[in-house]
Symmetry: C2
């Protein structure tokens, strides 16, 4: 059953979906879901209201699409840095460093869209709550898996609790996101990360 892809008919879209989505992300990130009005969004995205509704269906649909794109770009950067570093300790350090970078990008809102905005809308929106739970569980499990594999290869000692370590690593990013939003500097965030690097990987 080959799905035939007919050539697109009608007037072509004058904007790039991912590009306007990036603009929408910034608005939601800065103002929250309720705080971002359709006018705010269309102004930032550079498109008119019916184009927004044509492409995303509703404000809620746009928000869900923005979450997905945020997770696929900014949100996963720290985790990708973590995965691509072979040494366990350095991987965690890279995870923290990248989290700090992503929550303090110049020209972008402070903190993390997921931690700061999505968790609020999740309170009274089941579809957002489900998506959020899925993302959290994925990250937790992936980090714990990495630690387990490191332990199997002898890079972590058997007495180290990999699940506990994974929980702590994720927890540190919660504080980084919270502090970043409250206005902490990169230096302050690095201090926090260093504190926990020493605590989680105590010098022998």
């Amino acid at each position: 059953m080959k799905k035939i892809e007919p050539r697109q008919r009608g007037r072509p879209r004058s904007f790039d979906r991912d590009q306007v989505l990036d603009s929408a992300i910034t608005v939601f990130w800065a103002k929250g879901y309720d705080g971002a009005s359709i006018d705010d969004l269309t102004r930032a995205m550079g498109i008119a209201r019916p184009s927004l509704y044509g492409a995303f269906g509703s404000k809620h649909g746009l928000f869900m699409a923005a979450i997905d794109r945020y997770a696929a770009t900014h949100g996963s950067r720290a985790f990708r840095a973590f995965q691509s570093e072979p040494d366990t300790r350095k991987a965690v350090a890279a995870f923290f460093e990248t989290s700090i970078l992503c929550t303090t990008l110049r020209g972008k809102p402070r903190g993390c869209l997921i931690a700061n905005v999505v968790t609020e809308t999740a309170q009274h929106d089941a579809s957002v709550r489900n998506k959020l739970a899925g993302m959290f569980a994925e990250t937790d499990a992936a980090i714990a898996n990495r630690f387990r594999a490191d332990q199997a290869q002898g890079h972590l000692t058997d007495d180290q609790d990999t699940e506990s370590m994974a929980r702590m690593v994720v927890s540190v990013t919660h504080s980084i996101a919270a502090r970043a939003r409250a206005g902490a500097s990169r230096k302050e965030l690095s201090d926090v990360a260093d504190d926990f690097m020493s605590a989680i990987f105590p010098p022998r």
Copy 2:
């Protein structure tokens, strides 16, 4: 210059300020600032709109009053538990335990009003931002002071970095608040707290 307190004239207020404030706190806590409409608030508080505006001036004024009362009641419980426990390690454990309790109260919204709601409104409201910064700085300093005093009395060794410890303790509560809001159980939060108790106070 004794301030003369004239007896109250005119029709007396039919509601207790702190009592209706507690109801307002719950609404803001659950729905956020933007998400809480005046109708939501007056319905929960059991008063009419003009009474709200008479007593608090505006939605913003009500929110500021709610923050103050939250900080004076729920928000400071964990810190009070921390201060009233003489043993350093037990004080931190009590701090975490009480944080977990306060962010998972039955019949109340999950998480912490300050961490979850105030930090968002602080983004685009200078008066809230200032209040928030003051509260954060107070807590950080008070915890670090306590550790310094403990160290001076020999309850902490000189090689322990009291500032770093204070930062970590506060950071853990950030994660507790974030996880609680995302729906974590008390057991899960206790696990996180235990992880960090072991990491911050390593068994000798």
